[in-house]
């Protein structure tokens, strides 16, 4: 599905990613964990076309999409739920979802997607007329995911979906992520600081540290890895 090879990104003189490679297979949930500032968000932004790459390849369904503008990448079936959710706070819930389907013309299909999003997140249906800025953090995260689903993606990237959300809602949202992956067969690349949760729902994981991948393995194995345990899982 997605394969990135030797990805390098600079912010001016600072190297953010020093050549990372990773792969997400069709139908998979893969997670990228690491501390603050390790380059997780940068990786996603580079893949979805928000950042210019220094070098490296982003192969999406066999095609190199490196340095393609973000709005064109969406057309290929890739959707990115950015860090901090970035819902359109000045638009209603319904308008946010409609914008998610911006590139689609098939009214029927859009309605089906809308129904699906409402079935996954019934809260959004109740609040569809409400302005998104008035939603709680958890509801905004649901909306951000729902909006990303409206383009009917084949590949979904989620950046810190647990950030700043009530613990009870975090659990719900992670269950929904698994549900979306199973029901729609959408491949998922998940970036998380909450390594415990991320490794629980993913099949494979990568550990990022200061712009480098230092470890990669089956998620189940990573959870037992002493290095990961002490650094990211809060155990010794």
């Amino acid at each position: 599905m997605l394969e990135i090879k030797n990805l390098k990104v600079n912010y001016g003189a600072i190297t953010a990613l020093q050549g990372i490679s990773l792969e997400v297979k069709q139908g998979d949930i893969v997670t990228l964990i690491g501390a603050n500032g390790a380059g997780k968000t940068t990786t996603l932004r580079a893949i979805s076309g928000l950042l210019k790459l220094q070098s490296g390849e982003v192969l999406y369904q066999g095609r190199n999409i490196a340095n393609m503008p973000a709005h064109q990448i969406v057309k290929l079936g890739m959707s990115h739920v950015p860090e901090g959710r970035m819902v359109f706070a000045n638009l209603t819930v319904l308008e946010n979802l409609q914008m998610g389907a911006y590139l689609r013309k098939d009214k029927k299909g859009i309605q089906q997607e809308m129904d699906y999003v409402f079935s996954v997140f019934p809260r959004l249906k109740e609040r569809q007329k409400q302005v998104a800025g008035t939603l709680s953090g958890g509801e905004q995260q649901m909306l951000a995911i729902g909006r990303a689903l409206m383009s009917k993606p084949k590949f979904l990237m989620l950046d810190e979906p647990s950030l700043g959300i009530a613990p009870l809602l975090v659990k719900t949202i992670f269950e929904k992520i698994v549900e979306i992956n199973k029901q729609q067969g959408i491949s998922i690349l998940l970036v998380e600081q909450n390594a415990n949760l991320a490794l629980e729902i993913s099949r494979y994981g990568y550990v990022l540290e200061t712009g480098r991948i230092i470890l990669q393995d089956q998620s189940a194995a990573l959870r037992q890895n002493p290095q990961v345990k002490s650094a990211y899982l809060g155990g010794g």
């Binding site: 503008p69 000045n90 308008e95 914008m99 911006y102 590139l103 990303a148």
Partner: protein, 297 residues
């Protein structure tokens, strides 16, 4: 009472023109966060476009007048899109100050090109619509040109509100205005939306130019400077970036100006009008309908 109403009508008709121009400033600010100082000259080009089109079609007919209006709006829409494409887009990633200075440059370019092509001497703008004066029972007078201003301004304001609130491209405009990054992540091409915004704003300025010229029928290449400045102030007064605010600010400014003009302080019209605006902004720095935005980090 009659005099009060009369002044109110005059003020509203002047204010409606300011409102049409102010919308362009505010919409461009909404999507790009900078003031397009060349906007006042697009207004001027609109008046001249109307002047030249009107030479080729029958005068003082409703259809002809509408044709002039539509033609000038189309020409200015294209002009606005071209200005953005050539002058502002290459500087998009640079500091806002660079774009601002470029906008002033484009403004001077248009003014001087106007003097070169149209001539520096004022021209007499023809009466596009059949001219009539209506006198109401209590002595209230309204010219057909003032009516044209009201009718055209209301239709354009309602259409604009419809486009921005109900259509897909309008919703995309609001989305880009709130967060361009998030907009590109749902597949919105920001460039297209920005071009559309420039086109729309410039078309409204052209309509403003025609209506202004109908009521003050002497046009010259520098005619845009003062109305443009006032419309800019109107946009700030209403809350820059806020569309209904620009309309409100325009109307308010027109009314204030007209009332001061009708008083014994008429020599100081502009000074007093602007002093009132400064006072309002002292108490509502974000403008009448604007919300103070916390800079996001």
């Amino acid at each position: 009472m009659t005099e009060f109403l009369q002044q109110l009508i005059n003020g509203l008709s002047l204010g409606a023109i300011y409102a049409l121009i102010a919308l362009g400033y505010t919409m461009v600010y909404g999507v790009l966060r900078f003031i397009n100082f060349a906007h006042s000259d697009v207004f001027m080009v609109g008046a001249f476009a109307g002047y030249y089109i009107s030479k080729r079609i029958p005068r003082e007919s409703l259809g002809g007048g509408l044709l002039v209006l539509a033609g000038a709006m189309l020409i200015c829409a294209i002009l606005g899109i071209v200005i953005e494409r050539l002058a502002y887009r290459p500087l998009r990633s640079r500091s806002k100050l660079n774009v601002l200075i470029t906008a002033i440059g484009v403004s001077l370019l248009l003014e001087n090109a106007g003097q070169f092509f149209f001539g520096a001497n004022p021209k007499v703008f023809p009466a596009l619509f059949p001219v009539k004066t209506f006198t109401f029972g209590n002595g209230l007078v309204m010219s057909s040109n003032q009516m044209a201003v009201f009718i055209v301004a209301i239709i354009l304001l309602v259409s604009l509100q419809f486009i921005v609130r109900k259509t897909k491209i309008g919703t995309a405009m609001r989305a880009v205005s709130f967060n361009p990054t998030a907009a590109s992540l749902v597949g919105i091409n920001n460039d297209v939306v920005i071009s559309f915004t420039f086109g729309l704003g410039s078309a409204l300025a052209a309509a403003g130019g025609i209506l202004y010229a109908l009521n003050y029928p002497s046009i010259d290449p520098l005619m845009g400077i003062l109305p443009g400045l006032k419309a800019f102030v109107a946009a700030v007064l209403g809350g820059i970036g806020n569309i209904p605010g620009a309309a409100l600010g325009g109307l308010l400014l027109g009314i204030i100006e007209t009332f001061v003009n009708g008083s014994r302080f008429s020599t100081y019209t502009d000074a007093i009008a602007f002093a009132i605006l400064i006072l309002i902004l002292l108490f509502r720095p974000a403008g009448l309908l604007g919300k103070l935005q916390v800079e996001k980090v």
